[in-house]
């Protein structure tokens, strides 16, 4: 049965790649931010207590990070990056000033991707024109410049030096035929580093504001300060989201959750522009426990006629929230077994101690 499903999936993929994708090539799909390899190594925006690091590039806002645990040095060929503004290569390994890095923090490191959730997607050079910005926990914001980090990956990065929650947004415009596509995405990450007040607010005048911004906001409550298990989403969790268009909530708007394997659920936002999904478990573990996270997508689309008479006649606003979802640890952890084991150990040692004491106290015959 499982084999048959796999074959079916394969056939559908081929159909998509060879027939549907070329036909639909004109439509850029959705834009989203995927946790970069450095974040994935550390659990996708969740530090797992790991310390930080890595390499460097033109997109970062704080200079060169010092590589840290779990971040092996990149091959020399990757040290030279093509910067977004076309200024060619920049040998950041040798020229950037060393970055001050809190040992337990990690960078905001994201790959920009364009395509269809749970189907084909790419991170191509066209995304170098995307706009991206970061809002830091101290209230400072800064523009991030996408750069080609590897031949297949356009990425953005911020050193994320201070403690707290970071909001990373990106947008991309494309006109195809009569339609103008405006794609937006937003991601959040938490970090432990230094206390925010130590850093002066940077100059914020270069932050882009592309109107209208159509965003899906993750309203999950703050998980606290424990960086050993911060900000992870698990299957079974609730995901409250809010749709904002030019910072105003969008009511009665369909919003869709798509899991990594393509399962979909569509809800309609209430009058506050909010909807709450349950992050369903995609599949159970096969032979081995799989603790790896997969990407879930929340998407929404608004189609409307264009404002101006010139240019394209229609406008499509699309927004994506891509998030890493971990399999629920309840699949393999048992608290009751833990408590039983603890009490059993205590009882056993207590009884042994009591018996030994009694034997010692017994008067000699």
């Amino acid at each position: 049965m499982i084999k048959r499903t796999r074959y079916l999936k394969g056939i559908l993929c081929c159909l998509y790649i060879f027939l549907i994708a070329p036909l639909a090539a004109a439509d850029p799909g959705y834009l989203w931010l995927e946790a970069g390899p450095q974040m994935r190594r550390m659990g996708g925006g969740d530090s797992e207590g790991a310390m930080q690091s890595g390499n460097t590039n033109s997109g970062m806002a704080h200079g060169r990070p010092v590589a840290g645990p779990n971040a092996p040095p990149r091959p020399a060929s990757h040290a030279r990056q093509v910067s977004a503004d076309g200024h060619g290569a920049s040998d950041t390994q040798s020229k950037s000033p060393p970055e001050k890095r809190a040992a337990m923090s990690h960078p905001a490191h994201y790959t920009l991707r364009l395509g269809w959730p749970a189907a084909a997607s790419a991170s191509c050079e066209t995304l170098l024109t995307a706009e991206a910005s970061i809002l830091r926990p101290d209230g400072s914001a800064q523009k991030l410049i996408p750069h080609l980090e590897t031949p297949e990956a356009v990425r953005i990065r911020d050193a994320a030096l201070i403690q707290g929650r970071y909001v990373i947004s990106a947008s991309f415009d494309q006109t195809t035929g009569d339609t103008h596509y405006r794609l937006f995405t937003q991601a959040t990450m938490r970090n432990t580093g230094e206390k925010p007040q130590r850093h002066p607010l940077p100059d914020q005048k270069d932050i882009h504001t592309r109107v209208p911004r159509f965003l899906i906001e993750d309203l999950s409550p703050d998980p606290g300060k424990n960086f050993a298990r911060v900000h992870r989403k698990y299957t079974g969790d609730k995901l409250p989201v809010r749709l904002l268009l030019s910072e105003a909530p969008v009511a009665n708007q369909p919003v869709t959750l798509t899991t990594a394997s393509g399962w979909r659920q569509t809800l309609t936002t209430d009058e506050k522009g909010e909807a709450t999904f349950a992050l369903i478990k995609e599949s159970f573990h096969d032979n081995e426990i799989n603790k790896r996270p997969v990407t879930y997508f929340v998407t929404s689309e608004i189609r409307r006629p264009a404002h101006s008479r010139q240019g394209p006649r229609g406008e499509v606003l699309r927004s994506t929230l891509a998030l890493l979802v971990y399999p629920s640890p309840l699949d393999w952890e048992s608290r009751s077994a833990g408590l039983y084991a603890l009490f059993l150990a205590m009882a056993a040692i207590g009884v042994v101690t009591a018996i030994r004491r009694r034997q010692r106290k017994r008067p000699c015959a």
Partner: protein
């Protein structure tokens, strides 16, 4: 006030700071050489061992290459802490030590007799803390490197000591987090480590109720802090000629260190198990036989007068003040 009481107050303060300090935004960093568990959500400072094991799990080329600076800063911070406070961390600051002292007080309150270590078994298990220290270096190294051509260990072995340290399930409990009291069935390694953790936590709680500070004898942090026994700012010195080997200090010592009473020729008395609690200085009845020192200068010394005062007796009078027998003239 008795030094025991002062110590309890300081320990309580440090406990509150280390477990809840983060609520007010206080933090003394993550390189503190004491068992202030990093899993406690509102912590005001965290144990050195967690990041240390994380660093050790890096490939060697990365550790001595790209991460050498953060690693050295980490080690340097630990070194400074150790140099200034040394084993005083164990006696005055450690939250797990404080929990053991509370268990001992609870036992005393209930009027239950405590147990002492047999000298032979104590000697026999001295190596355990050094073995644990070696393992918490070698196992993480085996994750990022292939040691001796062996295959790399799986990520399930990450932070191995934290995975079996009773502080992990116990200290987060004080901020209402019960999520570390569990058995993990995801792999044989996880199953073994979490079962061992639950067992050791049980032993910690019952053992702490039966024996004073038993866990400290096996603590790898104590093994690390032993590096500062001689060079640390805080010390414990003995004046052999004043000592009468009465054994008061040994009987009062929570770590049951025999050498403190036995050895008269030794000057520096901070032994590998000493927690610098200064109880021995307090109970010693001989003038200046034992002294607590700071940077080599005595700050608290044993004295006959102090001893008698603490016993509730009048201090001894100088010879010339003794009342004379009126008939003697």
């Amino acid at each position: 006030m008795r030094i025991d009481r002062i110590r309890l107050i300081v320990q309580a303060f440090c406990f509150v700071f280390l477990i809840y300090g983060g609520i007010l935004g206080f933090s003394i960093g993550n390189a503190v050489p004491t068992m202030a568990c990093i899993y406690a959500e509102d912590r005001g400072g965290a144990c050195f061992l967690y990041p240390f094991q994380r660093f050790m799990s890096l490939p060697l080329s990365t550790l001595i290459g790209a991460t050498i600076l953060p690693f050295l800063i980490y080690l340097g911070t630990f070194f400074l802490w150790g140099l200034v406070f040394g084993k005083a961390f164990c006696g005055w600051i450690c939250p797990l030590g404080f929990l053991q002292d509370l268990l001992t007080r609870a036992r005393q309150f209930l009027g239950i007799d405590g147990a002492r270590f047999r000298w032979a078994s104590r000697e026999r298990f001295q190596w355990v803390k050094y073995a644990l220290l070696a393992l918490l270096i070698l196992i993480p190294m085996g994750i990022g490197n292939s040691l001796g051509g062996l295959p790399k260990l799986s990520g399930d072995w990450a932070v191995p000591f934290c995975q079996i340290c009773p502080g992990k399930p116990l200290l987060p409990l004080f901020s209402g987090d019960t999520s570390h009291l569990l058995i993990d069935f995801s792999s044989p390694v996880k199953l073994a480590l979490t079962s061992l953790l639950m067992f050791l936590t049980g032993v910690f709680l019952i053992g702490g109720f039966v024996k004073r500070r038993w866990f400290c004898l096996y603590c790898p942090m104590a093994a690390l802090l032993s590096l500062f026994d001689r060079i640390g700012f805080v010390g414990l010195k003995k004046k052999g000629e004043a000592c009468t080997r009465c054994g008061n200090c040994y009987r009062a010592c929570p770590m049951e260190i025999r050498e403190i009473a036995d050895e008269r020729d030794r000057k520096h008395m901070v032994t590998q198990d000493c927690i610098l609690c200064m109880r021995c200085v307090e109970v010693c009845p001989e003038n200046k036989a034992l002294s607590a020192t700071l940077l080599g200068f005595p700050v608290f010394s044993a004295s006959a007068a102090g001893f008698l005062k603490r016993q509730g007796c009048a201090p001894p009078l100088p010879i010339e003040d003794f009342p004379h027998d009126s008939n003697s003239n």
